[in-house]
């Protein structure tokens, strides 16, 4: 193992913004900024209280659009897989995050931040299986 492409400053600043966004949602609306659960509930829940979920998702899209329009130099998208592999990966992420009640944001940031044992175990689990997967795909296949 050797270290490459390390970008500590943009990582810390970007991370702090993610934390700030999650803190804002928690402090004002009392909700967890977990993207997989917000999206899943937006897809299947129809209640008077679901508007904020669509607004949050729209905010994510607006960030992407804004970057593309005004800061195209900041947008990097280097895909690591072809279409077939992306569909399979998407299915695994979709089923896995609903079964496991969360993803990198809900478990990895909010859950660990709340010192939830479930989220700590979940985060370790998807980190380990993600690392194993990359090892197999990049170095064994």
């Amino acid at each position: 193992m050797h270290i490459v492409n390390f970008t500590p400053f943009s990582a810390l600043i970007g991370g702090a913004l993610i934390g700030l966004a999650a803190a804002l949602l928690w402090w004002t609306l009392g909700r967890i900024a977990g993207v997989s659960t917000i999206l899943g509930n937006a897809l299947t829940e129809r209640g008077s209280d679901s508007g904020w979920r669509f607004a949050f998702l729209a905010g994510l899209l607006a960030a992407g659009l804004g970057a593309v329009l005004f800061f195209p130099g900041a947008v990097h998208l280097d895909l690591a897989a072809g279409g077939g592999q992306l569909v399979v990966a998407g299915l695994l992420v979709g089923v896995g995050t609903q079964m496991g009640s969360g993803c990198t944001s809900g478990h990895g940031v909010c859950g660990i931040g709340r010192l939830s044992a479930r989220s700590i175990v979940a985060t370790l689990s998807f980190m380990v299986s993600g690392m194993l997967t990359v090892s197999v795909v990049k170095h064994l296949l």
Binding site: M1, G59, L60, Q98, M99, A117, S129
Partner: protein, 147 residues
């Protein structure tokens, strides 16, 4: 309406954070997961930065009875480390490693103009719906199901 404005702002700042930290770039994520090869530790600092800010706010306002603009805090109440948590998280990790995408960055990068991202998101949405309909869990607030 005010709640939606705040939620939009939160999503916006969240998305900017993903782009600034390059979490929205699959190659960057794969570089972090590739500990047996050329390792890029950046995403560990993304998490550290996010945890430092969220954790500070979460624990500082812990005594507050209610959030500023809602009746109560809605956090998961389940504490058991059960099989769905482990199996689901492991499965998610495999998909994450195969693609370099987790849900937030995938949604943000649908706007980047590469239609292949849409294939991932279509698969992800299909997977979410599939699990929810098969398991009968339509709503998951993390709060007790009765409220």
């Amino acid at each position: 309406m005010k709640r939606c404005v705040i939620a939009f702002l939160s999503g916006l700042v969240f998305g900017i954070g993903l782009i600034v930290s390059q979490m929205s770039n699959p190659a960057k994520v794969i570089g972090f997961l590739d500990i047996t090869g050329s390792w890029d530790p950046s995403l560990a600092l993304v998490m550290a930065g996010a945890l430092a800010v969220f954790g500070t706010v979460y624990w500082s306002i812990r005594g507050a009875g209610a959030p500023l603009m809602a009746e109560r805090f809605v956090a998961p109440t389940e504490t058991r480390i059960d099989r769905p948590l482990l199996a689901g998280s492991l499965m998610f990790g495999v998909g994450w490693g195969l693609s370099g995408f987790c849900p937030g960055p995938a949604i943000v990068s649908t706007t980047f103009g590469n239609p292949l991202v849409w294939l991932f998101v279509a698969g992800m949405i299909a997977g979410m719906l599939l699990y929810r309909f098969l398991s009968g869990r339509r709503v998951m607030t993390g709060a007790p199901r009765s409220v």
